[in-house]
Symmetry: C2
Subunit: 228 residues, 2 copies
């Protein structure tokens, strides 16, 4: 499903020049895998996830998604991939502040052309799966940090995408709620074959995965067993 | 230092009416204490921290800070308390997006009337304490999630406030960086007697504290030993 070869990413530096943030990344992920990504703060995990999610482009190297080189796709095709085939849980949630959470969760369904009543029904059901059905009409800023994180998770599940990229999805959640979310993810992976790539810094969360990729200074330094 | 009695907080509900978010909170914290606050997502921890930090007011009950009833203070005195005597690490960081991180960290010093060169010097030193001295001129959106969290921590330490309120300060940090931050907090508490109140959902982080307060549905259900 995902083929990354010799991938690198530079960012411009404030004083001029560039800083390499990802270097020489080789990675291959098959459909249905459940992969945990770990690594120190600033090691490049979110940058890598943004490239996988077609939200950013590499400076060098190739990224093939479902057999297609992402660099060759036009912007319509990229938008379609992002909105309908990839579910993204952002480290910063990225919710629309002026919309209700049921509208936020329904946004990928809107992009998929789903009608209004059906969007509301599906979004309500997703909110119930993360324990927030009773707050459907609330705005994000009327919710706690962990509640907003759960809205971001529910939105990523809309459209039942074949690939879910989750960047620290339990960072603001207590142990009980984290377990509920990880149990949900594990079920989606086991029952529907959804490919799941999850960034976390908590070993207890990483243990739900079947493969661990470790980043350090923009490189992959481990790729294999989840032995924590 | 902190005396809370019969404190409650309601929020207006979207459909009309109110929802109680905090109820009948009694709590007393002496100077120099190191308290961890835990509880499920949505149980009222951040709401309580905002009231302690003089950013919000209770609906009922009293809050005395350093012997003064906060409800009786005028807005100038409240602003002075917030900017000079309390350091707040927000769950959502709350950094100014259009300022460099060294200016962000220097903001409390500006409120304290510290001159420009001295502000820069102190802010640079604080950034170095959290491992970000080399990124002083970066904007927050040029940093990783964990780096932004560390800028928020550094800013809370400016002015060496006698009280630090930290709302999930390690939520986006890997184990190594979390340990560095908690070691820094423990040293400030042990050597300078700074009172530290820290919300976390991770038992490993709570264990640095000497007292644990547990929230559930807006109530305090445990207040005592950190036995996790
Ligand atoms: N402005 C608001 N209007 C309505 N309800 C609110 C508002 N702000 C917070 N709430 C509600 O108050 C409750 C407590 O929120 P709070 O942010 O204090 O929880 P928390 O314990 O910090 O949770 P978390 O661990 O998820 O950060 C939640 O149910 C939240 O939805
Ligand atoms: N727009 C940008 N300009 C310059 N540098 C950037 C930019 N965005 C990210 N970086 C840098 O790239 C590096 C990797 O960032 P990234 O967000 O991928 O880290 P991360 O592994 O997700 O960290 P965390 O665990 O703290 O979330 C960091 O040093 C960061 O400061
Ligand atoms: Mg990140
Ligand atoms: Mg909170």
């Amino acid at each position: 499903l995902i083929q990354v070869a010799r991938l690198g990413k530079d960012y411009p530096l404030v004083g001029g020049g560039v800083t390499p943030v990802l270097r020489d990344i080789d990675l291959s992920i098959a459909p249905g895998e459940f992969v945990a990504i770990m690594g120190p703060s600033g090691s490049g995990k979110s940058t890598f996830m943004n490239i996988l999610g077609c939200l950013d482009t590499p400076s060098v190297g190739v990224y093939h998604l479902a057999g297609q080189s992402v660099a060759t796709l036009d912007s319509d095709r990229l938008a379609e991939l992002r909105n309908r085939h990839i579910g993204f849980v952002f480290q910063g949630f990225n919710l629309l502040q002026r919309s209700s959470i049921v509208d936020n969760v329904g946004l990928p369904l809107l992009y998929a052309g789903v009608g209004k009543a059906e969007r509301r029904r599906q979004a309500q059901s997703l909110l119930e799966q993360v324990g927030l059905g009773h707050r459907a009409d609330a705005r994000p800023n009327q919710l706690s940090g962990g509640q907003q994180q759960r809205v971001a998770i529910a939105r990523a599940l809309a459209n039942q995408p074949p690939l879910i990229l989750a960047d620290e999805p339990t960072g603001n959640l207590d142990t009980q709620t984290s377990t509920e979310i990880m149990t949900l993810f594990r079920r989606l992976n086991a029952e529907q074959g959804i490919t799941l790539i999850l960034v976390t810094h908590e070993p207890d969360i990483a243990r739900y995965a079947r493969r661990l990729v470790r980043f350090k200074d923009g490189h992959i330094v481990h790729d294999g067993e989840v032995r924590l």
